[in-house]
Symmetry: C2
């Protein structure tokens, strides 16, 4: 059993956008396993924007508490069981869990109590790439699937706008909506990404949100209005969605990228009265509340990926030393698709 | 048949709060009835806050267009058929319709095309006061009923906050929630109204929203948080609701009183991310989309009113000449319960 571990910790709170120097890697001894515990060697780390929320000094009401300086980060990860004092797990088992951002995770029987997308879970990847279970077949896929199907009640023929559509969640949401018979508009933050949305993902329309007032860009892309907005951005994006919403429209809100770097949250849309005038609803959610849909999600999305009807991109960093760069790159929007950090091998 | 009519018209657009001088009464001849038309002598006018929205130079996307200076106002009314060229209506019939703010209404077969709460409809008041069909058994009642039951999915044991709870809609919503087994907190804009909410309506708690930061006032009134917010105010009230919302909470939004006087809409709540962190939804609606619930609503609320379990107050003005004062008083919040204008007799 290895005696030594490395963990990525918050060094100092970011002031504005996260810098790699805000994070530090600390060494720590690996304790012996107690009864019920499992030692996992992490092989893949999921690099997700929501972690930014917990790097500030306060988190929104209802959310997990902030990380304290010096505290190890946590996040979704995949690894291999190296040792086990738990009869449910044996060495060699492939598992997913919430103790990422470290080389090894010692996971107790309370592993499942960490919030969000489940605790220690055995994986059977069959013929599929293991890291997909952090992306389109994992938390990213479930966020897209639950938001469209369960929250927004997507119907064939709906016109759907997906913001951050070149990202890990957005790219799956946009393609899933297409497969479900919707007309799909995607937006992203660069011409390259717009090109990706149009050519690689085959969306019906796409725009760069820097190219003008978002309300006008969206109106040009969807002249008849939209029925569903898949929102991971908030702020001016949400306001534009309401302006272009058809009566009876639905917003599935899974994040607020526009606000994660702000110490003081920016004001909300000034056009919320359109919820009344058009009978529109905004519903927030977290994927972790929809684990009962995970099997259906995996079955449907794995099918699309296997036969090539759904594309999936990855930006992969290597080794825990690169995890800070992975985080800052993802938060800057350098990625197309999922950002991952590969450990070992 | 009378040859002469009087109509309340927009004189000049209000700059800030509505003044009686912004409205003018104009005389007009009454035309002969064409085939299909009905002449109604109005007896009760419903004085509702939503009319303020159409007095500005623009209305929100999806809403009815602004009134133009010189244009007669419209609004819910009850009257008696005086003459009819329509086989569905006979002289003496009691009807409700959308052509209020005038002594007589000439209603064509397209009367039902005016948006909102239905067109020309026969009423059978039985033993109940006629004007209740503009209030607790009419549009106000349906707004309360649809918002709580259909939109917010009210459950027994829910803790519910009703803003503007001394008003026409809020007072019914608050009492209906009580009857349905909820714990109900009401807020209003004066100590007298708070007293009314506590003593007359028997709510579990009440506060004057001027008495401090609304988030703190609400937290004191509902220390365990709220499950449902019945919103006719928006703005700082909505932000306070989100701060105090329990996971899975619902907001039924039927209006935005805080904003009706503003030329430029105020920013929305800066804490919308709590929709995500707590899995909360905000749903806007108009009563007119829930006419299929009107019979159930009338049956349930008439029962409560008959046996005294629901209280109902009215502020009544007399004659079309007083309609401008009725409007300004209601918009200032002088009323407790429903504001009405009685014509004739």
């Amino acid at each position: 059993m290895p005696s030594h571990n490395r963990l990525l910790c918050l060094g100092s709170r970011p002031d504005g956008p996260l810098q790699t120097g805000d994070l530090v890697i600390t060494d720590a001894p690996l304790p012996d396993l107690a009864t019920g515990e499992v030692l996992v060697r992490n092989t893949w780390l999921s690099i997700d924007p929501s972690i930014r929320i917990r790097l500030g000094s306060t988190t929104p009401n209802g959310y997990l508490p902030p990380f304290e300086p010096g505290e190890p980060l946590v996040g979704l990860a995949i690894g291999v069981v190296e040792r086990s004092e738990n009869s449910d797990f044996a060495p060699g088992d492939i598992v997913s869990h919430m103790y990422g951002y470290r080389d090894y995770a010692v996971i107790g029987t309370d592993g499942s109590t960490i919030g969000g997308y489940g605790g220690l879970t055995s994986l059977d990847p069959e013929d599929l790439p293991l890291q997909w279970f952090l992306g389109p077949l994992g938390s990213s896929g479930l966020t897209a699937y639950a938001g469209l199907i369960a929250v927004a009640d997507l119907q064939p023929g709906d016109t759907v706008w997906v913001s951050a559509a070149a990202g890990a969640v957005g790219s799956i949401a946009a393609q899933l909506a297409k497969q479900r018979g919707a007309v799909v508009i995607g937006s992203a933050g660069s011409a390259e990404k717009v090109d990706y949305l149009e050519r690689t993902l085959g969306l019906d329309a796409a725009f760069d949100y820097h190219a003008g007032p978002i309300t006008e860009l969206l109106e040009r892309a969807a002249p008849g209005g939209i029925d569903v907005y898949f929102d991971s951005v908030g702020s001016d994006h949400l306001a534009a969605a309401l302006d272009n919403m058809r009566p009876g429209g639905r917003v599935a809100m899974c994040g607020a990228l526009a606000d994660y770097d702000n110490t003081t949250p920016s004001p909300g849309p000034s056009n919320l009265f359109q919820l009344v005038s058009k009978g529109v609803r905004i519903e927030g959610y977290r994927a972790g509340s929809f684990n009962h849909l995970a099997a259906d999600m995996r079955s449907e999305i794995a099918g699309y990926l296997r036969d090539g009807r759904m594309k999936y991109s990855e930006l992969v960093f290597h080794g825990l030393d690169e995890a800070p760069s992975a985080l800052t790159a993802m938060l800057r929007g350098d990625n197309t698709g999922k950002t991952l950090c590969r450990l070992g091998e």
